[in-house]
Subunit: 406 residues, 2 copies
């Protein structure tokens, strides 16, 4: 018996898989710990505001399901890996209402859209494969894909420019509506351009639709999937894996999202889902279905109105307080505003000082780039702070801009 | 615009990652679809019996949480990736009661123990790495690890034999108590032998404890982790990642399990958990905590008593009906009996005919081997069928043995 070796255990550092070199703590998540520890003005993390969740609807649905013996048995047993059938059926109707006729074979349920991104990365990416992403991009997508060790390239900003290409990319990840972190929206022409590039390259588009229902300005633009269906006649040929979630419109902690895509790819994602965690909670799927069936649109409208007011107030405060060499995006929905600080000002240092010296949480923009970040950027979220707090927070960080310039 | 290409979409088959060659439908899961479609005697799938879940306790906990505004806010917002803090605190006490003193930094919450296995494979396995498993082994573990493309070797059946080794293995996956599929239990000496082999090789043990609380015969044997702690003085050095779950003792569909292990490895698993699906449902973690805090032991005892009776009745029926050249295991707990059919009889063909001709679902044993299956094997589960149905099912498949022999 080798007691010496036993006494210190395995040499873990020599055992980790190669992918672990890329798995590191997220600045955002680390910062979010602080949120629980201090009294801050929260312009950082992009959490939905729990003050506006539909508690009564969820409590009612939960009690109705657990109080009915037949439904309770279904709710507490393992769900099928592809998801609770009535929810998948409901989603085919929902997708049809978005211009995407499809069948249940085109829908797999996931634990929020984060798991959808993980499973899609797992399905498509070998080490060294090329993943095309918007720069900057949702950090959760980068973290999910990182585990499969791709190389990243940027989706061309102008998809119609000469030489623009996605050639060689195994996937192209895009958030068309008010995306995280920039809050910007792809125009219809930009969506068509991306579809054309992707079709030319034979590259599937991974469409992150998680904010789609939180539009509060302007007209809805069809999703990349809907436009792909319009071009090709079918979800089978549209070349898009669409990821959806109820986390932003109902409540995140039910952890229910979905992928809509070609049946063969959805079948493979289902097998990966099964190997990853067998199934999503049947209870949570059933509770959500009871709520969204009658209330999804009204809940989305109600939440969008709250975020619209907060966004407007944040944009007003930025206009009032920020110096002329600071610019920012004007989102038509979602939760985020992207701020360009004066050239040469470091967003990481800025976010650090805003937190420590001014009691305002923001997120450094650098975290959202897989490499070569644009450093003079920060992301603000208007989801959590009250109108008054956000205005005060902006006032304080505008002061910090002047101070750091000096 | 390349309309022709767009019209058929990407060439998906050329895009899948290498790992997808190993991702195939599970015979068990495919067979479980049939269970929902026909009236059968269910000796196949290993589902817990939903007739005995603690509906009242779960409904009460759920109503209490969603009815209390402060708790409801916590329950519906994103949970921390490492899990709901009070549940992790409770688990440190639970693990201590099993002989494993530890802190919250040693515990990460997962979606059942299936996700724990996936994350552990993701953390440790590069393509071609060696994973040591029991043969036969839990199919869900093989499917989880398959995605990371290991080579499998067998954990030596006699860990104290000359030349027995785990050398080169990145992990050794073992189910010490009434494991799926064999229902067999490692003796204390066998556990000590495995710990010694693993320590000599520097190989971490992945301990699947999912049936641990469902013992109905004999004395509890300390877990591999508890024995490792006794040897080395600390969970940090014990060389074991322990995976636990409430799926078998409370209800599967809450999808809550955990890993207990060294803090540094648990931190890495937490990062992988975050990249995979952000967090497990806070609501489900809170509901479970309310139930297990006061009722885990009594629920486990109540369920074990039900399974004990069914197991006894199945063993009686096997003794009554099976010919002399059929043998089987005598489990001390859990949900499974492993049957050796007469030499040369094919378990896959047998399971097929039992299902189609006799209306009895069983599982071919071959599915539980990564390669070179022992073909004359089937797995029976006593979890779902009534005592009467199980006896009738055994009578029918004993007839089939005679018929297939002829």
């Amino acid at each position: 018996m080798t007691l010496d070796k036993a006494a210190v255990g395995p040499d873990w550092d020599s055992l980790y898989a190669t992918r672990m070199k890329r798995v590191a703590p997220s600045e955002i998540r680390e910062r979010m710990r602080l949120i629980n520890q201090h009294s801050l003005i929260h312009l950082g993390g992009g959490l939905p505001d729990p003050a506006i969740f539909a508690y009564d609807l969820l409590a009612e649905a939960s009690a109705a399901i657990l109080g009915d013996p037949a439904r309770a048995r279904l709710a507490l047993q393992y769900a099928p890996s592809e998801g609770h059938l009535p929810l998948r059926e409901w989603l085919t109707g929902y997708m049809a209402s978005l211009g995407v006729p499809c069948g249940i074979e085109n829908i797999v349920i996931t634990n929020g859209s984060q798991q959808a991104l993980d499973l899609i990365g797992k399905m498509l990416l070998d080490p060294g494969d090329v993943a095309a992403v918007e720069m900057p991009s949702f950090i959760g997508a980068l973290r999910a894909f990182d585990a499969y060790q791709p190389q990243y390239i940027a989706i061309p900003e102008d998809t119609t420019a000469t030489g623009a290409t996605l050639a060689g990319a195994k996937l192209a990840y895009a958030g068309p509506d008010f995306r995280n972190p920039t809050g910007t929206t792809l125009t219809r022409a930009e969506r068509e351009g991306l579809l054309t590039l992707a079709a030319a390259a034979g590259t599937p588009i991974v469409e992150d639709s998680c904010y789609e229902k939180l539009r509060f300005v302007g007209e809805t633009i069809p999703s990349l999937l809907a436009l792909g269906v319009a071009r090709t006649g079918s979800i089978e040929n549209a070349g898009v894996l669409y990821t959806g979630t109820f986390s932003k419109t109902i409540a995140p902690s039910l952890r229910v999202g979905w992928v809509a895509g070609p049946a063969a790819a959805v079948r493979k994602l289902t097998l990966l889902k099964q190997a990853s965690d067998l199934a999503t909670s049947a209870l949570n799927q059933m509770v959500l279905l009871d709520v969204v069936r009658d209330h999804l649109d009204s809940e989305a409208v109600r939440m969008s109105a709250v975020y619209a007011e907060r966004c407007g107030s944040m944009l007003d405060a930025l206009a009032r307080h920020m110096p002329a060499d600071v610019s920012w995006t004007r989102p038509e929905g979602g939760l985020y505003v992207w701020v360009l600080l004066p050239e040469g000002m470091d967003g990481s240092r800025f976010a650090e000082r805003a937190l420590v010296e001014r009691g305002v949480s923001t997120i450094s923009g650098a975290a959202f780039y897989p490499s070569d970040p644009r450093k003079n950027t920060i992301r603000l979220s208007f989801s959590l702070a009250s109108v008054q707090d956000a205005a005060e927070g902006i006032r304080r960080i505008a002061e910090l801009v002047e101070e750091m310039r000096g």
